[in-house]
């Protein structure tokens, strides 16, 4: 399917060069990383940008770096790289789990985690893991630099808080100073490649606190402080889980679409929450012993 209109193409060799271009072109430019989302959009008739900025020449964006307590993942890190990363497997296991469930290997070899959250499609797999770890999005423009908490990043379906002239440099999380373990649960129609119809991220911490995030059951993914407060410091019994599951009905608002009904999504979110919670706790117990 040919793309009807042509665009300019630039492959900057430095971040400064990329930021200059963004400052010139603003919304008339699109940043091209893995391209698995963007190429499809253009084929489907999405307006063609004036300029495509291919950032794959920017070496510093490929890093996964642990500096003290800060784990930084550059914006060009692909899902395959995440899966191969020992640091992420050990320190950011919920993202490591989620990465396995994204698309298929041929897509994961190109698709970047940052590209996933920049697309901000409701069915993102990267969001819940970042939310439960209170991640920061590192943004840079020609004249500015900022770190945005991930909770403020998602604005609406396919809309983020990025400015027209900004480039995402990467994402970081602050590793908790106590032991922790996470679990990512994804509702798919089968075991092969599928966009999530609902997803749940749970983080269990040594101090008996929890982080819970729901994705794909509303226009943007969200943490549920209500459920987190409810679980905090409690012994997680069957009764507690049942009560928490009932709370989910007040926290998420899934819709019915061609992929699933809202009834099934609601039910499965509860089931996945329970399974995610139990798995996170089980993993945490393994770490403690």
């Amino acid at each position: 399917m040919p793309i009807p209109h042509d665009f300019e193409y630039a492959k900057p060799s430095s971040v400064d060069e990329a930021l200059d271009l963004l400052s010139e072109y603003g919304k008339n430019a699109k940043v091209l990383a893995g391209g698995t989302d963007l190429a499809n959009l253009l084929k489907q008739g999405f307006p063609v940008p004036e300029l495509m900025i291919d950032i794959k020449g920017l070496a510093e964006l490929y890093q996964i770096k642990l500096t003290g307590d800060e784990l930084f993942i550059g914006s060009l890190v692909t899902f395959t790289t995440i899966i191969k990363s020992d640091i992420i497997k050990k320190k950011f296991n919920i993202l490591w789990d989620a990465a396995h469930l994204v698309a298929s290997n041929g897509v994961r070899n190109r698709a970047t985690m940052v590209g996933n959250i920049c697309s901000a499609v409701a069915c993102m797999d990267s969001a819940a893991p970042l939310l439960v770890h209170d991640a920061f999005i590192h943004l840079k423009s020609k004249n500015n630099e900022r770190k945005l908490p991930v909770a403020q990043w998602f604005v609406d379906n396919r809309k983020t808080a990025i400015n027209e002239d900004e480039l995402v440099m990467g994402v970081s999380i602050q590793l908790p100073k106590q032991k922790y373990a996470g679990s990512y649960q994804k509702l798919m129609r089968y075991s092969g490649e599928d966009l999530s119809q609902a997803n749940v991220g749970v983080l269990a911490l040594e101090d008996s606190s929890f982080r819970v995030a729901f994705g794909s059951v509303g226009p943007i993914p969200k943490r549920s402080l209500k459920i987190e407060h409810f679980l905090d410091q409690k012994e997680i019994t069957a009764a507690v889980i049942e009560e928490a599951k009932a709370m989910i009905e007040t926290v998420i608002a899934p819709i019915t679409d061609v992929r699933a009904t809202k009834e099934y999504r609601m039910h499965m979110t509860k089931v996945m929450f329970e399974r995610g919670l139990k798995e996170a706790i089980e993993r945490l117990n393994l770490l403690k012993n």
């Binding site: 040919p2 089968y190 092969g192 699933a260 499965m268």
Partner: protein, 783 residues
């Protein structure tokens, strides 16, 4: 059992090397040079509307656009069994996405831009998207001209209705038999539409050259039938059959979607309007979903009466088919099922009404199974329900009623030799029927299911195959047929048959994709009939060649013909132990005589096969008296699955399928059909879910939301089992099995789900969501 050299052996596919090296060329892979034109289609955005006007001026202004064609340029109908279809819509459109016009340009981009500028003016008409609404008294007529459509003599359209054909079976006395039954069960079942999803979309290039020759390259299951339909439809433009040449490259999957004619006729017609240039149409994946054949949907109403010992006394089966906007091919699905909707059972009293109903949805057509998967869903579930009521084991009730050789079929003819009961026993044993299994996970339940299946090729009574066979100087062979290898391995099996007869190794035999100019006639590669029919033609051609060889040797060497035989590519004689004439010495040149002359000449085998015993002639009110089906292939299948009761997700632990193939010509290829067909069946039950919106537009014409299985979704274990009760008129006893593997899968899974959970599901698909919500409902009711 005879010991064959090549028959029954897992010979490596003759096209295997082409496919593993990437050398295999499919239609879109062929280069046609810089003169190639591209056509982009303008489609309807209404499911039912009159076309008031089409504005093409803006499109023609786009640089590199050469022409815009519409229905006015081709006011001709076409169709395989009925002529109800148009190359481009005429006065109205009948489904969302129907082709209205085409823009022809030098580049795909220009064609696309042109297509976007064509303006169509519509007057919407009431649309009908349910077959049950379409047969209501006051429903809009989709084909007001129905009574004037030419059709095969064994179709019965109902004028002034939306019923394009009705097949009736009236056998015995069902009312009396129901009255005498100990138990009667009546219910309805629902099967939606499905898409074939061959990984290669339709592709076609056509060129009408300046000498008046129309050449068409198409991804096709039916090059000769396509040639015929093009010639028929385009005759008003001065085309004769021998002016049309269809070249069929490798096919990237068919499953029925590439049988008959669909988009190819557009390319053929457009080419005539742009003489001298090849024109390509490449179907997108979206169009592949909504503008090629779809598998018909059906609502079935079953009423079955049994005696308390489990014998079926009467069956009333009403099938209401959603056949779509055009039924030129789909009507035969309705017909085929009408003749066979008793399933592989002996039933003396039968009443069947199979209705082919027009709807404003994409045209229904041939799909692997040809209606049998669709009707068997309800039938095999119904039988299980009856078995449960009578407290008879589901496998046992099938043993009791399973059809045997000589039993009367629904239309009165006799059942062919078949190993149905052997298949039942083998499948039951392989799935350990009777042994209840329990999951180690308290949240999961395990269930087992069983189902029989059958299918006969659905063809006109004069569907034929033919073969030319050339021996070359070195005794290698070229076998020319027009049967298509669509992945099943037909070319390989034909080489094995020719090789067995001529004692020549299949590696020395080339059987390749056909060209209708050079290769002799084959009706179509459908119906699971080419191993049998084309195989017979190839065998006859090989025998013909052998006969010529012996005739020549006998004359030249004065040896009695009846003492000659072939062994290791050499002619030998039982009478003369030292007589040894290698084939490679005389296949082209004739046999040298002492006086320096030669006897004979090139060996050219010729074989034609057409079943002369089948006939569609029967009483139209009862269908009794005919012999419309050549033979049935039968089988039995068992399944063991595990359900996660919290999520509804199903894991298939084991699936076994026993098919009576008559004679397995190539075990690795035959197994391949079972493994692949079983997964395709599973897919239609668990994953594929076609949705339409209020406008009649398909909502999920893509692999993102119409899911077909990946390597992660296969059953843990699939066990193919073969029974071999010889098909007397089959080559080496073989009959076809290509479609059959997917036929029993839907009721198999439904029956296993009932076994595991007590939930009875009577509609497809059976997604995890459906099971989950049904389990929640059941739990609520039980509380």
């Amino acid at each position: 059992m005879k010991n064959y050299k090549y028959i029954g052996k897992p010979i490596v596919k003759v096209d295997g090397k082409d496919k593993v090296t990437g050398a295999a060329l499919y239609t879109d892979d062929i280069d046609f040079g810089p003169d190639l034109l591209y056509a982009e289609i303008v489609e309807s955005v209404h499911a039912h509307a009159m076309i008031i006007g089409i504005e093409t001026e803006e499109a023609l202004k786009v640089p590199e656009v050469l022409a815009v064609v519409t229905g006015k340029d081709f006011p001709y109908t076409f169709g395989l069994y009925m002529k109800d279809r148009f190359i481009f819509a005429q006065d109205r459109v009948r489904f969302y996405g129907e082709q209205i016009a085409a823009v022809v340009a030098r580049t795909p981009k220009a064609a696309k831009m042109g297509a976007e500028l064509v303006r169509v003016h519509y007057k919407p008409l009431p649309k009908v998207t349910s077959q049950l609404d379409a047969i209501k008294e006051d429903c809009e007529l989709l084909h007001p001209d129905l009574e004037n459509y030419p059709h095969v003599p064994w179709f019965f359209p109902k004028a002034h209705t939306n019923i394009a054909h009705q097949r009736k079976i009236r056998k015995g006395d069902v009312d009396k038999a129901f009255a005498e039954s100990d138990y009667v069960l009546e219910d309805e079942y629902f099967v939606p539409r499905y898409s074939h999803c061959a990984i290669e979309p339709h592709a076609c290039v056509a060129k009408y050259d300046l000498s008046g020759r129309l050449t068409v390259w198409a991804s096709s299951q039916s090059p000769h039938t396509q040639r015929h339909l093009f010639a028929e439809a385009l005759a008003p433009l001065g085309i004769r059959h021998n002016d049309v040449r269809v070249i069929a490259p490798y096919v990237g999957g068919g499953f029925g979607s590439k049988a008959g004619v669909t988009m190819e006729i557009m390319a053929a017609a457009i080419a005539i309007k742009t003489p001298g240039h090849p024109v390509k149409i490449m179907w997108s994946r979206e169009r592949e979903f909504y503008n090629t054949y779809q598998r018909l949907g059906v609502v079935t109403k079953l009423k079955m009466g049994v005696s308390k010992d489990g014998k079926i006394k009467a069956l009333k089966h009403d099938l209401y088919w959603d056949a779509g906007a055009y039924v030129e091919y789909g009507a035969n699905v309705v017909n085929a099922v009408g003749l066979s909707a008793i399933g592989p059972y002996k039933v003396d009293n039968v009443w069947i009404d199979s209705y082919c109903i027009y709807t404003n949805l994409p045209p229904g057509g041939p799909y692997r199974g040809f209606g049998y998967s669709e009707f068997l869903f309800g039938l095999e579930i119904h039988i299980n329900r009856i078995a449960k009521h009578l407290n008879i084991d589901p496998v046992e009730i099938r043993r009791i009623n399973g059809i045997k050789e000589g039993d009367k079929l629904a239309y009165g003819a006799s059942m062919n030799p078949s190993g149905l009961h052997q298949a039942i026993d083998k499948a039951a044993e392989a799935i350990e029927w009777g042994k209840k299994e329990v999951s180690t996970d308290p949240k999961k339940v395990i269930g087992k299911g069983f189902s029989l299946f059958w299918k006969a090729p659905a063809m006109p009574p004069n569907a034929s195959s033919s073969c030319f066979l050339k021996l070359n100087e070195d005794a290698s062979v070229n076998v020319m047929i027009s049967g298509m290898d669509i992945g099943q391995g037909l070319l390989t099996v034909m080489a094995q048959i020719a090789g067995e007869v001529l004692t020549i190794d299949p590696s020395k035999i080339r059987v390749e994709n056909p060209d209708t100019d050079r290769n002799p006639y084959e009706w179509q590669t459908v119906a699971s009939h080419v191993t049998w029919s084309c195989g017979n033609a190839v065998k006859k051609a090989a025998l013909d060649a052998k006969e010529q060889i012996f005739e020549m040797v006998s004359k030249a060497r004065f040896i009695p013909k009846d003492t000659l035989y072939l062994e290791d590519e050499t002619v030998k004689s039982t009478q003369h132990a030292y007589f040894n004439l290698p084939l490679k010495d005389f296949m082209i040149t004739g046999i040298p005589m002492e006086d320096g002359s030669f006897k004979g000449g090139p060996i050219l085998g010729r074989g034609v096969f057409m079943p002369e015993f089948t006939s569609t002639k029967a009483d139209p009110e009862t269908s009794q008296g005919g012999h419309p089906n050549v033979h049935y292939t039968v089988g039995a299948a068992g399944i063991k699955l595990e359900i996660d009761t919290e999520t509804g997700k199903i894991k298939i632990l084991k699936i076994v399928e026993a098919i009576d193939a008559g004679k397995v010509l190539n075990p690795s290829l035959a197994e391949g059909q079972i493994i692949g067909g079983v997964l395709q069946g599973i897919s239609t039950v668990l994953y594929e879910d076609m949705r339409f919106d209020q406008r009649g537009k398909m909502l999920n014409p893509n692999f993102t939301d119409y899911k077909i299985p990946t390597a992660l979704d296969i059953p843990d274990e699939t066990v193919p089992i073969f029974v071999e009760v010889e098909q007397p008129d089959g080559p080496f006893g073989a009959r076809g099995i290509g479609e059959h593997p997917m036929v029993p899968i839907a009721p198999l899974i439904a029956n296993a789900i009932f076994d595991a959970t007590g939930i009875r599901i009577k509609s497809l698909p059976i997604t995890a969501e459906k099971i989950c919500l049904a389990l929640l409902e059941k739990n609520k009711e039980e509380k």
